[in-house]
Amino acid sequence: MSVSAGLTLVLSAVVSPLYLGVIQRTKSFFAGRAGPPIAQTYFDLFKLLRKGAVYSGTTTWVFRLGPIAGPAAGLAALSLLPQGPAAAPWSFPGDFLVLIYLLAAARFFTLISALDTGSSFEGMGASREAAFSALAEPVLLLSIAAAARSTGQTSLSGIFAGAGAALSRGAAPVFLLLAVALVIVLLAENSRIPVDDPSTHLELTMIHEVMVLDHSGPDLALILWGGSLKLWILGALIVGLLLPIRTGHPWIDWLVFAGGMFVLALVIGVIESSIARLRMNRVPQFLVGGGAFAVVALALAMR
């Protein structure tokens, strides 16, 4: 691992909570509110870290494992992802499969820690999360497969490096389609508005928030950080594929990457402000729609 790659890993892990703040501010702007400070997530994290955790008598070590698995898998996935001009700390053929299944592993541990509480409410949330993520996962897989096919590379670093050449060869329609599919995955995986509302609490329609109701203090802080890592990973994936600009000057490349991430946060904020939450039975349809885009992208890439 080179120094710059390691620094990027640490930096993105530290900066990722800021991303939630940018989205929140965009939503506040559209709602006509001042909104919380951009660094609000950090305040929340520090507040939660200072508190103690409460564990129910019915829970076991599985319950305590869940919150740790989120950031752990997030950091591992982040170390496979090249960001801006920095290379990924690790790269090998087929590493995008590892990235996808690291995210799935984090989800699995959140699910079993929710089931471990024995609460029927959390079990319901876990079942919803499992159902929807089972639909979101193939979309992610197919989109990255389309990108891999059109660049002819099988590692994330190779795909990102080859994306620019592929775009100039006329793969723009493929990347456009898979960008739509990836944004749908990002919204679904991070419990964003058309699928789930990150700001609802104690409502019967929520998905992600249900599963973490029993976690408190440092555990909740870890879950929050894990969630922001996941958002950052999917965001960096989209920006890396759509803005493969390599000027050769690292600072300009960093600026392009940061700008891309910022614009993506604005886009997420605008989407969340402008469309209503989908009815629960329409969510699979939304995800299959994303799958349709991914399949069409793959078909175009294989043409």
């Binding site: 456009l176 349809q285 349709a292 078909a299 175009l300």
Partner: protein, 214 residues
């Protein structure tokens, strides 16, 4: 130029899938209108190196008719018929979208085997046109409301128009204008028919027409 064109063609495919998954009539009308405008722009871009009056007329007539006149007529029919704004398909939204994707894949396969002239504007144009026609057929067949069947008819016509833009660059202007006029009259008549059906039967659900008696 080719990239811009292909992005617009992808938008055509996108609007097809959107139409198949959409449950609201107003949104469907807007999507069909957007599709018509995009097709007009595609027709202009495809011939950008030698824009003649003929192409300009066809493209502009297409944009104005499909982007403005048809939506206005259909919205008026929708208001006059006072219908519920749901599409009410026979085939669910999910299978429809999957059928749309399947249609696109088959169109890609078919278009690769069709003996087409070399002068097609983009290799994507013909598959997109074929799948648009199929989506139009699917919308006409699987939707209950008379109005959404009219929309399916329009989408089908969009597919033919796209095919014409993609392959028959030199089709005579009279034929193109004739088709546009036909469609215009058809939409006009359908709007009135929908209104009469709804006044007579308090619904534009075509299943109720099937049980018609003397």
């Amino acid at each position: 130029m080719v990239t811009a064109l292909e992005i617009l063609i992808v938008f055509l495919v996108f609007s097809n899938l959107r139409l198949l998954g959409l449950s609201r009539l107003n949104a469907s009308i807007r999507t069909v209108a957007a599709q018509g405008v995009v097709l007009g722009i595609i027709a202009l871009l495809a011939n950008a190196h030698h824009i003649t009056w003929r192409i300009l007329t066809i493209a502009c007539a297409g944009i104005v008719l499909k982007g403005v006149v048809f939506p206005v007529l259909l919205y008026r029919a929708l208001r006059a018929a006072k219908v519920r704004r749901e599409v009410e398909p026979y085939l669910g939204y999910l299978p429809s979208v999957l059928a749309g994707v399947g249609a696109f894949l088959i169109s890609l396969w078919v278009a690769a085997r069709l003996p087409l002239p070399e002068a097609t504007v983009s290799t994507l144009m013909v598959p997109a046109a074929l799948s648009t026609m199929f989506v139009g057929l699917l919308l006409t067949v699987t939707r209950k409301k008379a109005l959404s069947q009219a929309l399916g008819y329009l989408v089908f016509e969009n597919g033919i128009y796209a095919f014409g833009v993609g392959v028959a660059l030199e089709a005579p202007v009279l034929v193109e204008m004739g088709i546009l006029l036909d469609v215009f009259v058809a939409v006009f008549v359908m709007g009135i028919a929908v209104f009469h059906i709804s006044r007579e039967f308090d619904s534009i659900d075509t299943t109720k027409l099937a049980t018609l008696k003397e």
